[in-house]
């Protein structure tokens, strides 16, 4: 099976090893954002997509999650 975001082989949650690493960071990052800004998951994803410091793969994962209502 191919990764949902690139042509590499999927290894976890439908993502390749690289996007999977980014996915884990996106999920983990929400804990800190929720505590910091009392923000919803959806708003969090929107924020990190527009943040220029967000890494390319993390941004791709967040955009994908936004399209899929937050589901991987």
């Amino acid at each position: 099976m191919r990764c949902k975001l690139c042509s590499r082989d999927a290894v976890k949650n439908g993502f390749c090893d690289l996007h999977s690493m980014a996915y884990d960071n996106v999920v983990r990052g929400y804990e800190a954002w929720k505590k910091a800004l009392e923000i919803s998951w959806k708003d969090y994803l929107r924020e990190i997509v527009k943040n220029p410091l967000t890494g390319m793969w993390a941004k791709e994962v967040a955009e994908h999650l936004m399209k899929n209502r937050g589901e991987a």
Binding site: L37, E38, L53, T54, W57
Partner: protein, 690 residues
Amino acid sequence: MAPMEKFTLIITEKPDAAQRIAAALDINGNLKKMEDGGVPYYVAHRDKPIVVVPALGHLYTVAEEKHGRSYYPVFSFKWAPRYVAEKGVKHIRSWLETISKLAKGADMYIDACDYDIEGSVIGYTILKYACGNKENVAKRMKYSTLTKEELKKAYDELLPTLDFGLIEAGKTRHEVDWLYGVNLSRALTIAAKDWSGRYATISTGRVQGPTLSFLVAREKAIRSFVPTPYWEVKAQIEIDGRVFEAKYEKEIIKTRREADGVVAACKGEYGIVEDVEVNEFKQMPPTPFDIGALQSEAYSLFGYTPRRTLDIAQRLYLDALISYPRTSSQKLPQSINYNEILEGLSGVSEYRALVRELLAKGELKPNEGKKEDPAHPAIYPTGKLPERPLNDSEMRIWDLIVRRFMAVFGEAAIRRSVKVKIKVNGHAFFLRGRQTLKEGWLRFYAPYMRSEEILLPQINMGQKVRVDRIILEDKFTKPPPRYNPGSLLKEMEKAGIGTKATRADIIQTLYDRKYLRGERMVVTDLGFKVFEILQKYCPTIISVDLTRNLEERMDRIQLHMESRESVILDAIEILKPVVEELKKRETIIGEQLSHAVKKSRLEERIVGSCPVCGKGSLMILYSKRTGKRFIGCTEFFKGSCKASFPLPQKGNVIPSEKACPECGWPMVQVKIKGKRPWTLCFNTDCPSKE
């Protein structure tokens, strides 16, 4: 070549060194420059005639016993003239012929190549192969600067034999690196070529692989990074009519609620000085430059790549302005004669007062570092002044080395730090001041020091101060910084991989192979793919530990504690299963690499995003009809953007990765042979065109 009485043949590493050595040794004032087949050599007279002939760096290299580039594994090798093993170096044939001819007329042989691993191998191979096995009778000239005095001394105090420990270590390094490089690179290149039918050099090596692993690890961390918000609170405090910025006691506030709470509590309040802490501390002078420290400093001050700094330093060395730069020493022995060097430097008006100050001290003692190099001291200026006008970059590096040399003899600087604790409605803020009380060595290194001075007025405990403003700053955590050539070099040094002479070249190779792009190093898709393949099918090859272990063993050869044969045999044992595995997976590896090469070739042509449609990317394309080069938008193929712009048809055009300062459009760099490259804004409506 006219016949002459038997002479001493001196072999140097480079033509400039040959000229300097011959001039230094000649006592008749009758130095003659000769030429044979385009190869220069010098005839000088001392106790007897001396012929000084230069090499051009390495004239011999490791090569396979059997010819051909399309097979692997290869484990049998020999040392051969470079013109036999490499393309584009035909001139080396005449070079070797001249040296061989000269060697026949000599009755004494001296290796005067640079005194380090590479220089020793260069001299040894020439003496052995071009001079007819003269390596065991040859003597060695050891010097660290190309000044007349030192060269004469080195000639008068010749070492009786070559340094065979250094030679064995050097040969082993070349042979092991060749075994790694040729087998792994061929495995990857052949796999890609057999799959796609197109040739592209895909290389890796003993040090290249682990270096790429540092870059890939950093790239992964950056690309998967998710920033986290935090807040900083600052208070603008007014004291004696001046405004200072004090930082909140918690440098990072992790929740907006807490940050807002601090701001609300402190707004409009007065502050009371609760504590004033004054500390004085010594700032010791820097240590003398070794090559790594010089390269890092030159990168951070001038943006020069390690390769560029090394090249400049090499030129300054050949001009006898500085000592031998490829050193890992941080020591300056007294024997180099500090006073004489300083007196020489006082010939430059900018240095005169500083030199006088140092000489007035009486005894000079450098602040040496721990690192040693058995062959050479740290880098220092010779005290000689330039005999030709130096270009800007040479001048900068020379000045940096001169000032660093003076600074290491300076007194410690004494600085004062003041930390004032101000309580504002129960919340503590800190105001910090810094002041230099005694400049010491900072005076010598002034243009290159960035020490911040924040002078605070007299502040007393219990003093009431006005809080003008409370500032709340929204912040985000940042991804780890990208490596740059300077920081990567430091990382390699810290990990103990590569040598002072090879690290800069390895970094350059990663660029040449297109595994990296940009000064802030970005790993390309091709770089990722090569790394992934190595990680998947031969993880030992990218192991930093294994590489470091091999380095350590090669260092032991130098000390006669390990044999060359055992290191080579072990290297082959490591390589054999790796190469077998790569061969077994040739098709899949070839497919993956071919896709990555194709993508990388496309990536190379992308100039930037299209400012016309905002969706596509602008790319360097070729017209199918005319074959002419132009810029077009990738959205053209979807029919949604017709943006296209003409390009110069001559020379090489590559994306410049810079935006036009006038219109903000991406630009291209044009390189035409023999001309300085220039950047070009291709936007026909750019205000710069008016």
